[in-house]
Structures are given as C-alpha cells and as structure tokens.
Amino acid sequence: MLTSALWWQCVIAVPLGVGSLALAQPGYGLLGQSAPEFALHAVAGGNVRLSEHRGEVVVISFWSSRCTPCRTQLAALDRSLTTYRSAGLQIYGINVDDDQTRALEFAHGESVAFALLLDPEKDVSRRYQVDNLPMTVLVDRGGIVRYVLRDYSDKSQELYLKQLRALLNE
C-alpha cells in the first residue's frame, strides 16, 4: 500500500519538477555558450563593448519604453549594482524600441547608475534571442551565458540575486 503511494507520488512529482525547470529557462539556446559580442552606443554618450568586461560578471537586461515592469526591473538592477559593484559586477540595459525618441525619453527619465544602450538595428537583441520583456541574461567572468530570466516578479528577483551571488563567488 505504502509502496504504491510512493510510486504514484514519484509519477506525479517527476514531471512537475521537470516542468518547473523548463518554465524557468525554456530552451534558451545560448546557455553555456559564449555571450555574443556587441558594441553599442550608450544613451549618456560613449560606446560599450562586451569583451572589455571579461573577468567581471555582466548582467544584460533588455528593456523597452512600452514595457511597464521594465522600469521596476531597472530600479531593482540598479540596487543590485550598488551592492555588488565592488565584487566585479557590470550591468547594461539594452533598449529594443523601434522608436528611438521614446527610448531616449524613457532613458533620460531613469536615474540608474549603469549604462543604458541603444540597439536601433535590433541586431544584438536578435543574437540574444529576446522573446519576452524584460529579459535578463547573466554572463559569468569567463564570458559564458549562465542564466536567463524572462520575466520580472518577486520570485524571479529572488532567483536573480541567488544566481548573481553564485556567479560573483566563482
């Protein structure tokens, strides 16, 4: 009787566990791969090249002026930068708006300590397979894509901080 109950629990629990893992990072092709190189204009001026930050943990967040949670997420990322900058953290926000004017207006309204970058050709967004906003990609010190978060919620923010700490400790 007990054995049968255990067996049924396993039958139910295993697919649920696999399902929840799949929900966390469903088929993101860049996991474990080298982060695609980019050089983009920053809203505040100057250019940023990803490869110049080897040896640092880089968080790349894709955002748009039309995305409401993006604003909250950028603020949360800013807080994490304040805490972990000295441990070797770099954060970049890449805009995916079609309308650059709106993107600039949004960017000027944000007071974040990290650079907000413009990707008018959407070339970088395509290479990073952006399919939801906000989307956050965590790149380790060796330039490898290690984690991706495809939404913003309290739970995903907790997960982000956990993953970030793990990468900074490596």
Binding site: A39, L40, H41, G46, N47, V48, R49, E52
Partner: protein, 220 residues
C-alpha cells in the same frame, strides 16, 4: 606543406595531455596501493596479484621526508607550464594558418587605423566602404581610443579584393572642436596588384586650422 603541418599541430598536444593524464592517474593510483601495503600486517602478506607496483614502493619510501613529493610537484608544474606554452604556440600557428587560408596574399587587403594627438577630434565610430559596399562599421570605446592615442595601430578590416582598381571610402564620426558632433569622410582610389594591399586611415590634428585631418595612406 599543409598536409604535413596539420597532423603535427593537432596531435602532439593531444598526446602530451593524454600522457600527463596517464602520469597523474598512475601517481594517484599508486599512493593508496602503497598505503594499503604499509598498513598490512607483516604476517598476513599480500597476494602476488595485488602486490604494490615499483612506483608505489617509491611513494612509500618518499613519504617520511616528503622531499620526493615536492620534487614531483615541481616537475608536474613544469610540465603544466610547458603544456600551456605548447597550447599558446599552437593557437598562434593555427591563427596564422587560418589567415593564410582565408585571406591569401594575392587577394588580401588590410585597412589599419592610427591616431595622432586627438585634441581636435574624439573618435566615436568609423564606417568603411569598399567599392560602395559597407564592409565594417566599428564603434570605439574610451579604452580603445586611449590605446590609439598612446600610439596603437588597429587592424580595422581584413578582406579579399581582386586585382584591379578599387575605391575605399571612410566616414569618421565623433566629437570635433568645441565638443560638437563631427562627421567627415575621406576616400582613396587605389590599384590592387598581385600582392597584399595595406591601407592606413590616419587621424591627425592640424594645428594651423585647429581642425582634425583625415588621410588614407597606401603602404606601397
């Protein structure tokens, strides 16, 4: 030449790694065996099939002073360093080989960029067109500009062109005098012969005019 070169390049480091792994494995395997032999009471003996190897015996002899262990570690460290050097050399040879294959000398064209002084121009981007076709659009970070100002020369583009007349157009974007947005172009018509062609984009300050100067130089 390529056929002879490639197997040597591909297999010698692999064999070295394999050898190193086998050596480390043997050393790790030998130590527990030696310890087991030392723990065995003299009366009971060890079956012939599981008798410690000579390496294990040496490890037993070396344990009290641990001098041999230190020597072994140093040897291993030297081997690892040697292996690292082999990998770096191999990488360099492969890089040269790749360039020779992708950009043969008879069709190769390379464009370099250098900057002198830079008081009147803050470089932001360079767009390069060869025969009306955009071949590169490069954005410069502050670190790259700093390196150029220190005398660095950047290979901006490497490609292939057939023999004949061609035109190179370069657009420079950045901040000009008084921190104003600045965009200037420079062009050069050149003849591509049988050998490789090297061109240099030079950004200079023209003190008399208080303006930057853009020049394309053909390295004959």
């Amino acid at each position: 030449m390529l056929h002879l070169g490639l197997p040597r390049l591909s297999f010698s480091p692999a064999l070295a790694v394999l050898g190193l792994l086998l050596a480390v494995g043997a050393a790790q395997g030998a130590a527990p065996a030696a310890r087991a032999a030392a723990d065995t009471p003299p009366g009971k003996g060890v079956p012939a099939a599981t008798a410690p190897a000579p390496a294990a015996a040496e490890a037993v002899a070396g344990e009290p002073g641990s001098v041999d262990t230190a020597v072994d570690t140093r040897g291993l460290d030297q081997e690892v360093q040697g292996l690292k050097k082999d990998v770096v050399d191999l990488n360099r040879e492969l890089f040269v080989l790749e360039e020779e294959l992708l950009f043969p000398a008879n069709t190769q064209v390379a464009v370099f960029l250098s900057m002198d002084v830079g008081d009147f121009f803050g470089l932001d981007a360079v767009q390069l067109k060869l025969d009306q076709k955009e071949v590169i659009n490069y954005l410069y970070t502050p670190r790259e500009v700093e390196a150029l100002l220190k005398g660095g020369v950047q290979r901006l583009y490497l490609g292939n062109l057939k023999v004949g007349r061609h035109e190179l157009v370069a657009f420079f974007t950045g901040k000009g005098p008084n921190d104003r947005d600045y965009r200037r172009g420079a062009s050069l018509r050149f003849e591509k012969g049988i050998g490789a062609k090297y061109l240099e984009l030079k950004i200079n300050d023209r003190q008399r005019k208080q303006q930057p100067e853009f020049e394309i130089k053909d390295w004959e």
